[in-house]
Subunit: 204 residues, 2 copies
């Protein structure tokens, strides 16, 4: 049974697309998913970037917005770019990690992405995160407290370090059990279908 | 009938993949292709880069090589990264433009990509380009002379300026008749199938 690690940053546009479809892709293949929140900020800083490449390189940023609009429309999803972009995803990422031991990370992450990229909410705003928790029947105060414990903060730092060690430089990234790395929402299927070697493509 | 502009740099790995499959993709749809050589160098310089992002960002570069290996194998293509990477594609790009008026640009470009990414040849070496011409029954000396005429050199500069004006920041890039821009070999089909709006995806 295929098992894929789904590495994402809660501020990442293309991670939003993957989060909303990865469970169906896994179910269609009898595969499983590990949701792995991390922070792109330190990864970008290690490359000398102080913000998203979509801000540093305006042509690339304009293209991303148009590409997201096209993909979202094709998938019947709303999409808007939040202000500011990228959002500060630190609090939300820590809370998502709290859920890893409690079984609600996937539901929480999807709800945060919807608030951010459909409703345009600021996901660094505690009231937005409280709203997400409320919708899911989760206790915001206890989760926030757990997310601010030193060991939890360290867990997120460790996850981000692990991402860099494994060669992850963007999000979403999918990692197979044998360590094969696939970058980008476009490669989601390739990760699930990886089987120790590339599959032959259907020729046109 | 769909018509797609195929913008490529002869030093670009993913452009190699697209060059070898775009004619079949067009034929399958009764569509046509305009082969548009340009230079990524000035585009990268305008973004503050002195070389390929695959060299500037080593994790991204390592990933690209692995991704190319996987894609090439899935398509029954050989792939090796030439030394140096990226190659200097100026001479080859000028020669490709000479072919635009004479009907052999596509054949020339495919042969240059094969020499570069299958045989590991240095495409800035005139003897390599002479070998490509010889295989295709083209007169290398007259093409080289035509490629060094001031108006031809200007045409390549104009093409690169046009690429930047149209928002192109990487290669391959596909542009539809209504100006829709699709970046990357992954988006080749999307460009041909664009029809004033995104197509619904088949749900899983």
């Amino acid at each position: 049974m295929a098992h894929v690690e789904f590495w994402f940053d809660l501020a990442s546009t293309y991670s939003y697309l993957s989060a909303l479809r990865i469970e169906a892709a896994a179910a269609a293949r009898g595969a499983t998913v590990a949701w792995r929140p991390f922070l792109l900020g330190p990864v970008f800083k290690a490359q000398g970037w102080e913000t998203s490449p979509f801000n540093l390189y305006p042509a690339k940023g304009r293209y991303m917005v148009r590409d997201m609009e096209r993909l979202a429309r094709a998938r019947d999803l709303a999409f808007r770019l939040p202000t500011p972009f990228p959002q500060n995803s630190l609090k939300a990422a820590r809370m998502a990690l709290v859920g890893a031991d409690r079984g609600w990370t996937a539901a929480f992450v999807k709800a945060v992405f919807v608030a951010e990229f459909q409703d345009g909410a600021d996901i660094s705003d505690p009231s937005v995160l409280a709203g997400v928790c409320s919708k899911l029947g989760l206790d915001f105060r206890s989760i926030l407290a757990a997310s601010e414990a030193p060991d939890l903060k360290q867990r997120l730092r460790d996850a981000t370090d692990e991402a860099m060690r494994r060669g992850i430089f963007g999000a979403p990234t999918f990692v197979t059990q044998d360590g094969e790395v696939f970058w980008g929402d476009d490669r989601l299927e390739s990760a699930f279908d990886w089987n120790g070697g590339p599959k032959k493509e259907r020729s046109e």
